[in-house]
Symmetry: C2
Subunit: 439 residues, 2 copies
């Protein structure tokens, strides 16, 4: 359980914010317990964090996390325990789980993630089979995964309102496919529990909804421990009508970039921060670090050349970008072997089960690190601090506690976001509204 050598984060004094979070541990855990009584955590999530020393904030929350293979192997039991707890709460009677992964059969890193997930669920005591959305899959496909494991991808079968694979009728369907390509008909109207719910998929999910929910959570949390909410919450705005190819909506974008840069500048002045403010412009729907750019001056979003426009216009699965999130950029002050690094926190149910640093040798501290060439350094979270002295607040592994807290705030925001965007709930609420006759 070795902690990577972090040239800044772990050798300097602990930033004030982390110390405040650490000191408020009992208050925070008590508050979180109450939140989880009110809101059901998604089955799993990963949260990308940025720690600039003065500010620690989530910048992306993934509800279909890949990368379980990148977690420290020591934390596998933690994943299993959390998965057992989740199954117990969501469907104690479940015996069989159907895992539906992405269609990347040639991405061996992703396949390792699927194998890791399958192992976690098996060790949690489930029968697990893998059902594939590959459109032309007629027979089970065996793919080899580095390390010697074999994955068996089977064609999905639907019978009435139930889905499964040949000879296997699962109680629960676990999606590890983020539905960027849209909602497949075969998943519609299932009577089985689907985790996370379909409306968590990128065909309908919006980052702006997530960060709006996060803003509420962050504000309440900041009040709880007596800090400025900005220290954990990046400014953001949404541009709803963009067409990069047709160069429509650039003024809106420029306006919001200006506004947010001004807001950051004011905060930097307030805190005496010397760095240049920057914003991240990214697709409001979508993932994989596609369609992301760093902007330091509003003029940069006006004069986009063809290459830049192409890059921003289309994300994963060819999804066109018409809505864009403009988010305050957070410098990372962490590095691993002198390359900029950002922590990614993994959760199952409402428990932190591990994490890693995403490291990119050829990127700057003000850039998106989720890009080809990135590497992963597994993290040891919450390691014991019983020796030499549990009372020493500087006890190194405890520094990761803050990451786990901010990760869980983003998770809580996801729980609230999924409630707010639940189509079934929206219908119910509409039905419960007193109707006014049309005359």
């Amino acid at each position: 359980m070795t902690v990577p050598h972090l040239t800044t984060a772990l050798s300097g004094p602990m930033p004030d914010l982390e110390r405040k979070i650490l000191q408020a541990t009992p208050t925070i855990e008590h508050w979180l317990r109450a939140q989880w009584q009110e809101h059901a955590a998604p089955f799993y999530a990963s949260v990308d964090l940025r720690n600039s020393g003065f500010k620690l904030a989530p910048v992306d929350t993934n509800l279909f996390p890949g990368g379980f293979n990148n977690l420290n192997a020591d934390f596998h039991p933690l994943c299993v325990q959390a998965a057992m707890g989740a199954v117990e709460k969501i469907c104690p009677d479940a015996r069989g789980a159907l895992l539906i992964p992405e269609n990347h059969t040639r991405n061996t890193f992703y396949l390792q993630n699927v194998a890791a997930l399958q192992t976690i669920l098996r060790h949690a005591g489930m029968h697990v089979r893998i059902g594939s959305l590959l459109p032309d899959l007629k027979e089970p496909l065996e793919v080899e995964v580095p390390g010697g494991a074999k994955l068996r991808l089977e064609p999905l079968e639907r019978h009435g309102n139930r889905i499964g694979v040949a000879g296997f009728d699962p109680c629960v369907v676990l999606l590890n496919n983020d539905l960027s390509a849209g909602l497949p008909e075969i998943l519609l109207g299932l009577e089985q529990t689907v985790l996370p719910p379909l409306h968590a998929g990128w065909f309908t999910r919006r980052k702006s909804n997530h960060f709006a929910a996060y803003q509420e959570v962050a504000t309440e949390f900041a009040q709880l421990i007596g800090i400025d909410p900005w220290l954990i919450n990046p400014f953001f705005e949404k541009c709803g009508r963009i067409n990069f190819q047709e160069r429509k909506g650039e003024e809106c974008l420029e306006g919001y970039v200006t506004e947010i840069l001004d807001d950051i500048r004011a905060k930097y002045r307030e805190y005496g921060i010397q760095q240049d403010p920057f914003v991240i412009v990214k697709a409001d729907a979508g993932t994989y670090g596609m369609g992301v750019m760093t902007v330091k001056d509003p003029s940069e979003v006006r004069g986009l050349n063809r290459k830049q426009r192409n890059k921003m216009a289309v994300v994963k699965e060819g999804l066109e970008v018409h809505e864009v999130l403009v988010q305050e950029g957070v410098y990372t002050f962490e590095s691993v072997n002198e390359a900029p690094a950002e922590p990614v926190v993994y959760m199952i149910d409402h428990f932190v089960v591990g994490g890693f640093y995403r490291v990119h040798m050829s990127r700057g501290t003000d850039q998106n690190l989720n890009a080809p060439g990135m590497q992963f350094v597994p993290l040891a979270f919450e390691a014991p601090c019983s020796a030499p002295n549990p009372d020493d607040p500087g006890c190194p592994p405890n520094r990761f506690y803050a990451y786990g807290v901010i990760g869980r705030l983003a998770l809580l925001a996801s729980a609230i976001e999924l409630e707010q965007t639940d189509p079934a709930l929206a219908e119910e609420q509409a039905a419960a509204q007193p109707r006014v006759a049309p005359y």
Copy 2:
């Protein structure tokens, strides 16, 4: 996360029983989930197991476990996560926990256990103070623990029906004192949640009640996975009126020893086992491996000499032994560095959080190993088996799964035992009975 070198257990082929348990994983976990819907797990427990290769059984279940300091440090996060879950279920609103330890202020091993427990609870987000039952403690006492930590033992204070220490009114009281010396008045009628409940204390608890509950659990479980319940359940009987000093009750003891030895002999014949049957005679109440003897011939319990009688007559805190459990002895076929070893499984809530081998250089494979001179070798339970191949059933760490299962069966038995012996429930049931008029 190294697994100790086990000359027999891990080098030979996996025993049939372990394989059966491993193969039934989804069935077992599904059944256990249903059990935990019905029965509330004690806050924590440790279970001593014996694995003879053909038989794997619990021989003692401790509801006030010491030895958390002996767990593999890698599993600390697992303890924290399970403790968080337990607090959430039992008293989500809790902020402060009062830990009441044993009065052994000079036993540095035990103090390390208290420090480990305190750290677990703190990392689970609780304020933790230690309240001592030491009768003459007037001022807080600071004791140093190997490793540099300091424990602060504070005098208990009672205000009305609440207990605490100076300036600290906890929501929950966690006992790590097994109440062998009786039930202190200061703990009576508290309005705070006390974990485990007072009637789990040795002043009233009986091993025979535990093993009677375990027998039911083992029978149902054996049916579930299609095995002979004897393979996981040791025969036992209780002698209720013994006085070793006055040599009373020896016939009863001799009778039961004969009976159980005969029963074991019949089973050994059935399974073609060549070893000599033996029984363990031990106090029905009490712990610390005191008052325990190995018996291979009924005559041995008749002619006890003074030294043997003294050893059996009194256990921890001077508690006199008048009730005795006669239990089938289970050979251990495990060894660490050629010394006999038995696994001890630790649980918090209903999760296995670690374990160790108790090893004794100068004891035999048919003897109690819980005796001065024992050593502890931390175990890595449920380590990941994702590489090289998760489908390989011989994948070494999975062999420990069986220990976790039998440990949890004993835990379930404790949950049922505590329901059955709950004085409050007994009163309620008596009140609910239709009364028959006395004429």
